[in-house]
Amino acid sequence: MKGILRLKNVLLGLAPVVLALLFTTLILVAVGAPPVEAYRNILSGAFESWQKIADVVAACVLLILCGVGMSITFTAGQWNVGVEGQIVLGAIFATWVARNLLWPQVPVLTLMLLAGMLGGALWGALAGLLKVYGKVHEIFGGLGLNYVAQGLAIWLIFNPWKPADGATMSGTDPFPDPAWMPRLGDLRVAPLAVILALLSAAVVYFLLRGTRWGLELKAMGKNFRSAFLLGVPSTPRLLTAFAACGALAGLAGAIRCSARYGRMLPDISGGQGYLSLLVALLAGYRPQWVPLIALFFAAVGVGSPRLELNMQLDSSLGGVLRASVVLAVMLVGGWRALMARRQETT
């Protein structure tokens, strides 16, 4: 009996993936492309060479950091869509360090990462403050702050941080050498970044599971009123949750400008913050699942341009695949909850 139940759970867990593949396949068939070949192209595009694998791993870093960060705010029942802005602020703070402190590599990199975390944390806390004291819903506050951060980045790049040969959307002058995060040989991946990302998942897993702070966030997320009456200090917990998520997003921003571009860009986050929201949703706010899901998202992201090269399909098909997995997961989740409720009432 237990075995059957187990099997049922595994099958239900796989159902969303099957649903999403079915949906994407339908689209492929509708545009007249052979589905199997398309999927093979995505796979080979992501994993055919060490360089590709390194790209996938590098693309995971931001998704993991932000996805893990959002597991914190989601646990507290908050939709921190302000991660985009928090990434940008982290990058701005790190860039300031890189441009102004001409020190050896170890202190400069350490300071850049810490500054990035500080910038992101402040921006995150600001969204929290707007929510607590300004009664601005965190989704609207976060979106607004994203635009402010974007504007700030553009202003900095086009004014004080203007390159000598004129400002463009391609960003500032490259950082001095010490501010570049070391890469693994010729590969475009920085081992330190990967280690930090995995470490963040482990630390946050422990914080949410083993500490009073994590338990209080969980209680707030499940029932704000009860948690308050049981004595959970809601305001400080909410602010620290936003700040913690912001710190991880800021770290991601700092890593992105130090390890990937070696300079500050107006579009430093590349919309990846929103993507990491989907990662966190898919992981069900459990940080231990974030790296695996980030790997899937990153692989589809790195692999799908191949569709354009080899099959003349638009590479946005990868986005369709990722999004339909998320939708299918939520659909199946909602359906299971509905079934459970029906069973309860009969």
Partner: protein
């Protein structure tokens, strides 16, 4: 139009809201439907007006059995209901609200609607501006709009659910005049649902009293108030013996407290509670007792007055200061406000330890959960999520989470929905705490519980608190009078 309700049954889970109710409502009369909160008045009227379907029984209109799948079908047969909270669209204008009800064409005829609204308004002396937004209206004016809407739809049979809550005295007079006109001059039927004796006396021709889902009596008006009170609250236990309580030092002092909310203003409440004392707060729901209790715990802002706990002024202090000072607040909604659905018992035990270590020792928390489960006779495992427990067990968990050595315990409905045995057990636990000098204030709708468990009882009516009476000198009848807004003992 003559309406007969025959053996109407409506159950919500284990709660029998209507348990075989039969009433006949004659044309041209104002029929009062009287009863406490939860007696089943509103449920019955929602069944009649098509808002919900009864589980059993028959509704007959002029002798013909009918069944309504929606309020729309009911109003087509001339039956309309005015709900306690007006069912309008506050962001829309009066005219649009009015038109929305009956002009179902693609392009409503505004001119005709405006003329109808004016004409109907003039007939009943309702002064409503068709262009005003509903948000700006008082509750009384919104009611007037609802009445006009029902009349425009051709309602012959109008149900009003607690229509006098939150409206001014002149508006009430106008409302009553309108209802008399509708019944006496136009021959329509009016059902007036209320728990206020005075209003029923003033307005109604005939009264049916409900109690716990059943009809407990019917009477032609006028009728002695004593009989109505008895039908409403029932007779019960002989008076309780006065316990010999050693009054401890004063724990809670409330001086001239005033609290205001959208519907109600609580005014000038003074209360002193001593260590080991149990105070019961009586009153129909929404009379101010909950606002007051919450204000005692720092959960509601005082507009005036002071609250002192053990001599320390906590006026305006946040809820945390109240907890730090040895207070606790146990709300009525266990899963809504008291416990966190989705967390296990062990997690609750860890969470409730406010000054616990920042790293949780889960093995230790589980041990303590096991110990509390045993001590409080909770049917459940440390790993059970609280929502999987029964109501009685959830209430035991609420008690199990209260810290020891409390100074003041505030509780809403400590035993609501529990069986007698669970309720007795809960009270044993509560009364054991008074030995340690905990003062208890609780709200209850159960008069027997109030009389049996309290030392003193204070009654709220329309935001006013009566002077507290000693429970052992008080009877159910006297409490009933106070709750229904009459001074004790008069007219029996």
């Amino acid at each position: 139009m003559r309406v007969e309700l025959v053996e109407i049954k409506k159950h919500f889970g284990p709660v029998r809201a209507n348990d075989g109710v039969s009433v006949t409502l004659e044309p041209g009369t104002i029929h009062g439907l009287l009863g406490e909160n939860g007696a089943g008045k509103t449920t019955l009227m929602k069944c009649l007006s098509g808002y919900q379907a009864p589980d059993g029984g028959t509704i007959k209109v002029d002798g013909q059995p009918v069944s309504f799948a929606s309020p729309d079908e009911a109003i087509r047969r001339g039956i309309g209901m005015l709900h306690q909270d007006p069912l309008d669209f506050p962001q829309m204008r009066v005219l649009d609200n009015f038109l929305l009800a009956f002009d179902r064409r693609m392009v409503p005829d505004r001119r005709r609607g405006r003329a109808m609204l004016r004409e109907l308004g003039a007939r009943f002396h309702f002064d409503l501006d068709p262009e005003a937004e509903v948000t700006g209206l008082t509750i009384g004016e919104r009611q007037q709009l609802e009445i006009l809407r029902l009349l425009a739809l051709g309602a012959q049979f109008i149900i009003l659910d607690e229509p006098t809550t939150g409206i001014s005295a002149p508006q009430k007079a106008k409302l009553f005049a309108t209802l008399r006109h509708l019944a006496d001059d136009e021959g329509r039927s009016v059902v007036f649902v209320s728990h206020k004796l005075e209003e029923v006396e003033e307005l109604c021709h005939r009264v049916t009293v409900l109690r716990r889902g059943k009809v407990t009596g019917e009477a032609e008006m006028p009728c002695p108030v004593g009989r109505l009170v008895e039908m409403m609250f029932g007779r019960s236990l002989p008076p309780v013996e006065c316990p010999l309580v050693e009054p401890g030092p004063v724990v809670l002092q409330v001086e001239g407290a005033a609290i205001s909310s959208y519907r109600l203003a609580v005014q000038d409440v003074n209360l002193e509670v001593r260590a080991g004392e149990v105070i019961g707060l009586a009153g129909l729901e929404g009379s101010g007792q909950r606002l007051f209790l919450r204000a005692c715990g720092g959960l509601e802002r005082l507009a005036a007055g002071r609250v002192l706990l053990d001599g320390r002024d906590l006026t305006g202090a946040p809820y945390r200061r109240f907890l730090d000072a040895g207070g606790a607040y146990a709300p009525a909604g266990r899963l809504e406000e008291g416990l966190v659905g989705g967390l296990t018992l062990t997690e609750h035990v860890a969470l409730a330890e406010r000054n616990g270590p920042s790293l949780i020792d889960w093995a230790d928390a589980r041990r303590r959960a096991v110990e509390r489960i045993r001590h409080f006779n909770i049917v459940g495992q440390p790993e059970s999520p609280v929502e999987a427990l029964s109501g009685g067990n959830q209430q035991r968990v609420v008690l199990a989470l209260l810290p020891p050595g409390l100074r003041l315990l505030l509780m809403e409905h400590p035993t609501r929905g529990l069986d007698v045995e669970s309720a007795n057990w809960i009270w044993q636990q509560l009364l054991a705490r008074r030995e340690d000098g905990t003062a208890i204030i609780f709200i209850s709708a159960d008069l027997d519980e109030l009389l049996e468990r309290s030392d003193r009882i204070a009654v709220f009516y329309g935001g006013q608190m009566s002077a507290p009476v000693r429970a052992c000198d008080t009877t159910v009848e006297q409490l009933g009078y106070l709750i229904a807004g009459k001074s004790a003992g008069r007219g029996a």
